[in-house]
Amino acid sequence: MNLSFSPEYEAFRADVRAFVAEHWTAADAAATEVDPDSVAAMTGAAVRTDERAASFRTLAIERGYLYRHVPRAYGGSEQPPDPLKAVIIAEEFKAAKAPFEIMGQGPSMLVPTLLEHGTEAQKQRFVRDTLVGKIRWCQGYSEPGAGSDLASLRTKAELDGDHWVVNGQKIWTSSAQEAEWMFALVRTEPDRPKHDGITYMLIEMNSPGIDVRPLRQMTGDVDFSEVFFENVRVPADGVIGERGQGWVVSRSTLKHERALIGNAALQRRTFDGLLLLAQTVELRGGRAIDDPVIRDRLVAVETRLLAAERHGQRLLTLSARGEDPGFAAMVPKLYATGLSYDIAKLAMDVQGDKGLLAIGEEQAHFSGMFTVAYMWSLGILIAGGTANIQRNIIAERGLGMPREVRK
């Protein structure tokens, strides 16, 4: 066990740091500052995608720092897998507030799918533009009748000459209003049961017949939409993988999504805010953090967070060593969702009676940002498969317990 980096990696870190220092100035970094009390800081929404950021990203790709798993032919930097270098790059870019890989569903979900299942033409057409943010994507999986159970999808596509004609409805589509394209699962073989007959399809969002209706959330914000399809025509070549094989094609992307949500960075950010809050708020004549019951709860959630972070280091090590992480890789998401809720709930309690004030109310502590975290912690419970689905997977695939008996 050795938590420092070897000289080889330290040299690599120095290179990265020098590169960033040269190409992303203090002035750039200052222009990226986000008010630490803001809702954007809490939810991690502040990512720069302007021209300045795009040109920096292009340089960083050339240098081999971003999109390392993507071939140069498609706009990546095509580096041999090295999880430690990846961590070093992420740390250095973050420290300098420099633009990093865009974390949206396009680069993190669609691109791996295209690389694995797409045709040469599809890769050329989409990957590069997606990586630098020129094409933004939304995901069309969930439907009103198919949340956890994607096999029940009803949105259908029928072949009419050289086009598919799509009819149906998607729901919980994030960024549907901004996205130029959607990657979607649609049913193309209605007579085949369940998982069979689903096709993975790319749909341009400005196609006639698409109606995007924003869904307002509990927090009052709009992050999701319903998307309605009425005779939407999609060219026949807008399919990834084989027709009817969408289920298989989609499964690799889901894995990516889960890894994203299971990352403890969001919990760390909320916890650090909570700690500051507890040191700031005065309750009944003393700092909230000096209340022994709050203090005890604070350490208890911090301990779980530290365990999650160290667990992430263990997973990284397994990955760097090329070992199979097995069970260890299955738990982060379920672990993090419960933790998110408990951190946010404690933050609500730490505020005392002022916890009842709304998001954005200036009399509220930190403008009510912890109410966002609290409500989002419930959203996280739901995103990427509910906790019960996670428990099924962990029990069945992780612990080798019998599969569900179903009608």
């Binding site: 956890s148 002022k354 009842l356 709304a358 509910t386």
Partner: protein, 362 residues
């Protein structure tokens, strides 16, 4: 020995529930939420016709002279139906007035409250989550009040505010009329817009002392604690019912999700924790009027326990709903917001547990 509701109480609950079902569906709740003052005058006058604001007002002042338990049963129904408005403020002010020294002033106000002519509220807490009468900082000297009350329910709508303050003799309750000089009312936005609060600043504001000592303040607070517990119970039960109905309808993997054992057990656990809690707040309400030695302690226990359960119910019910429960349009979030209010207002669960330990002399 009869630990249950009387026929009259069951009738009261039923009539209130029918009234809300007919008059105040969640569409109306949402309209009031979006309104400027969170106070639906039409709804309130309907309640006034039913005698609700005067439930605790003595018959001599035109009220029904009933017990806090009766008022809490109405609060339970308001929690169930997510009813907006100043009911909590009204009851807290009423019991405060019932405990004052100056009975002539009280009698006038109580008549007005019962008749629906006067909307009264209480300004008890202060910055730093301070709700204890002994820690009030608002000062009275030469007949004028100076201080800040950060969370006063329905201050902007109220005709009179009963203010906890202190003079040379110690804590007491002062009457401040609407529009009194130096009083600034800044409405605040809360997560729950069905129960409004405002920040009230008193700068050389004239007021009339109506009670000496902490008793009137304590009575108002304890009644508030019981009402919040009852509201939490009603709300949590409603959410369990909504969730039960939802999981019986929603199908995934070829069956209603309510057929999955994990879902069944989550709801069974929740319902099992809630059911005995009903008796806890019933007793707290009963003790408030009839068993003085248990009144303050059970009010604290009931508020702490029921608002903990409400929070847990909202977590579990939102999770069991999946995405729909996280939307603005679906009504579950209205109760989620209400749970936040019930939990935070008048001090949180751990604080009341600590008070309960102290009150027990442990």
């Amino acid at each position: 020995m009869d630990f249950g509701l009387s026929e009259e109480q069951v009738l009261l609950k039923d009539s209130v529930r029918r009234y809300f079902e007919g008059e105040c569906p969640t569409s109306r709740v949402r309209t009031v939420m979006e309104g400027s003052d969170g106070h639906d005058v039409g709804l309130w006058s309907g309640l006034t016709e039913m005698g609700i604001p005067g439930l605790l007002v003595p018959e001599a002042q035109g009220g029904s002279g009933l017990d806090l338990l009766d008022a809490a049963l109405v609060a339970e129904e308001m929690g169930w139906a997510c009813i907006p408005g100043p009911y909590l403020a009204c009851v807290m002010a009423t019991v405060g007035l019932l405990a004052v020294d100056d009975t002539s002033v009280a009698a006038r106000l109580l008549s007005g409250i019962a008749a629906g002519d006067i909307l009264a509220t209480v300004a008890l807490g202060e910055d730093g989550d301070e709700w204890d009468a002994d820690r009030v900082q608002t000062r009275v000297e030469g007949g004028v009040l100076r201080g800040t009350k950060p969370l006063v329910p329905y201050a902007a709508s109220a005709d009179v505010v009963l203010v906890a303050a202190r003079d040379a003799e110690g804590p007491g309750l002062w009457l401040v009329e609407r529009g009194a000089g130096g009083m600034t009312i800044a409405p605040l936005e809360g997560s729950d817009m069905t129960r409004r609060v405002a920040r009230v600043t008193l700068a050389e504001t004239p007021g009339t002392k109506i009670a000496s000592g902490r008793r009137a303040i304590d009575r108002a607070r304890d009644a508030g604690l019981v009402l919040l517990a009852a509201d939490a119970y009603g709300g949590a039960q409603r959410c369990v019912e909504m969730t039960r109905d939802y999981v019986l309808t929603r199908e995934q993997f070829g069956q209603p999700i309510g057929a999955f054992q994990a879902v069944k057990h989550q709801l069974a656990d929740l319902a099992t924790q809630l059911e005995p809690a009903l008796s806890l707040w019933w007793y707290a309400a009963h003790a408030y009027d009839h068993i003085p030695e248990d009144a303050a302690r059970y009010a604290a226990l009931a508020k702490a326990h029921l608002t903990d359960l409400y929070d847990r119910a909202m977590r579990d019910c939102t999770e069991l709903h999946g995405g729909i429960g996280f939307t603005w349009e679906y009504d579950l979030q209205l109760w989620f917001r209400r749970a936040i209010f019930d939990r935070a207002f008048l001090g949180d669960a751990a604080h009341h547990r600590q008070r309960a330990a102290d009150l027990a002399g442990w």
